[in-house]
Amino acid sequence: MNQLIDVKNIALDPDQLVHNDKIATPMYTSSELFEQEQEKIFRNTWVWVAHTSEIPDKGSFKLSKVGREPVIVVRDRKDNIHVMVNRCRHRAATVCEVHKGKTSSFQCPYHGWGYGLDGSLRALPNPEQYGDDFDKSQHGMLKLRVESYQGMIFATFNESVEPLEDFLGAAKKWIDLFMKQGGGYPVKTLGEHQFSVPMNWKVQLENTTDAYHFPIVHKSFLQSLDEEAEKTFTFLDGEGFVEDLGNGHSVMVMIPELVDLEEDLERKIPERFEELAQALRDEGYPEDQVRRIVRAVGGSGFNLNLFPNVACSMAFFRVLTPVAVDKTDIRHIAIGMEGGPDIANRVRLRLHEHFQGPMGFGSPDDAEVWERIQRGVDGGAELPILVNRGIEKEVPGEAGPRGHVSDETGMRAAYAMWKRMMQE
């Protein structure tokens, strides 16, 4: 198991780069491999681009990325969602540089070509020089296939890829459970933290279902909690598990009693949410709704990793964008209750600020260790990166292999999918 890897002769062969329970250093360092991944993975499968609540009205749009490629996600007048490459068909200028907003059309700032909300070319100044056979219908913006599930919008360049719901497969059950943190209201995004880390994107891909690091890296976060909450987050010796859900997806159940937020509502309200519960009672919410909302505010007791770029993590979406072989942008999107009690959404915001983002008590420590991986792989290229934890003890789960909560089952799931896609 401890043999070294002959990196000089590895020739970027997926078989040698991913060896089930270990991966080779070029996985994090090879620019050539990074380019191949853009083509074979990010252009080839469903990539998360937005949540429907980010484009709530007709004409609402937001900018996003599919791999490195800039796209516009937009809702048209008939409520259809379009995703198109943010590139003018004339000479390639971006047609939009506003992060989000509302519009009736997009006009290129260079020579004035105008596009509809569906990306179709509507008009261009002085078209006569193009002659009679210039066909506007052939010069719309490049569009991607779009499908959504539970408000999560995915897009792909691959016209022949399987339907989104088939791709999500066993992960759908967990997405359904995750959305219960709307507490009976629709889930909506409440803003996001964005930060860049000098690391390969796969370092982050591994992290969402890595419970092994939690008590070490997040010790200072744990120490900032009250005793009861600290106990909740001390889940390594609990009944949790991590399971391979197929297609690279995986789930890590940290707090089993918080898998289904609508179950067992009679249970005692944690002390740190007592004040919120009382405030909701004072606003006239009946006791069962108070409990449902309070439970929702605390978030789900699991992390769901969806290959290749999005995770549903306790109480937020975590999105990665590969920028370069050693640079990845991370977005932590807070979610709350659309039309739900303001006081409850405020508690969600404060909880999000507490852990996430550039100033959180958690994210900076994650970012530090991720960067250290990228610094570490500059040495000892022949050493394997181990993702073998728990492989001997895995048992069959509902969808795929299941391991102890701190096992590296989720990483093996992601790398098996990585290998499959890179070999296709």
């Binding site: 409440l190 930060f195 860049s196 200072s220 976060f221 915001l349 404060r350 970012a367």
Partner: protein, 161 residues
């Protein structure tokens, strides 16, 4: 010092803000906590808002969060703060926006350079201080740091602005 002497007010607030900058660069965080009124708020917003409590911020610290944050920096268990980045900051372009009784609102520009892992990063911000004049000098009532590109892609910070 309960009545504010308008003649030297700009000089006094400048001295106070430079003092705060020096203790933040020196990471003398206990001294920094002492500069605050207990009900004070330290806010680093993402976007402008009328009510920062109602939106997501980079940080929205009341007394408890400030103390927890400082404890995190000091206890040595936070890998991003042990060791932390080294910082040097300058504050300038002071403007007094309002004076009301014992309260002064002052705005200024901040430049901060951080050094870690052999690389340096530069951050710039507009800062608005709400200071209360007390018998023992100014106290921080509110500090709102508007980082450039606060709604864009940032890095993580192991220090305060």
């Amino acid at each position: 010092m309960n009545t504010i002497d308008n003649e030297s007010l700009l000089w006094q607030v400048t001295q106070f803000i430079w003092h705060e900058a020096a203790i933040l660069d020196a990471k003398e965080y206990d001294a920094w906590l002492d500069l605050w009124q207990p009900e004070g708020l330290y806010i680093i917003p993402i976007e402008d808002a009328d009510d920062y409590a109602a939106v997501l911020n980079l940080c929205y610290d009341d007394d408890k969060m400030r103390r927890d944050r400082i404890k995190r920096f000091q206890d040595g268990f936070s890998i991003s703060s042990a060791p932390p980045a080294v910082t040097v900051r300058t504050l300038s372009r002071f403007v007094i926006d309002a004076v009301d009784g014992n309260t002064v609102v002052v705005s200024c520009a901040e430049h901060l350079v951080e050094d870690k892992f052999g690389r340096q990063r530069i951050w710039a911000a507009n800062v608005r201080y709400t200071l209360t004049s007390t018998d023992t000098g100014f106290r921080l009532q509110e500090k709102v740091v508007r980082l450039l590109n606060s709604d864009g892609v940032l890095n993580s910070f192991s220090y305060l602005f």
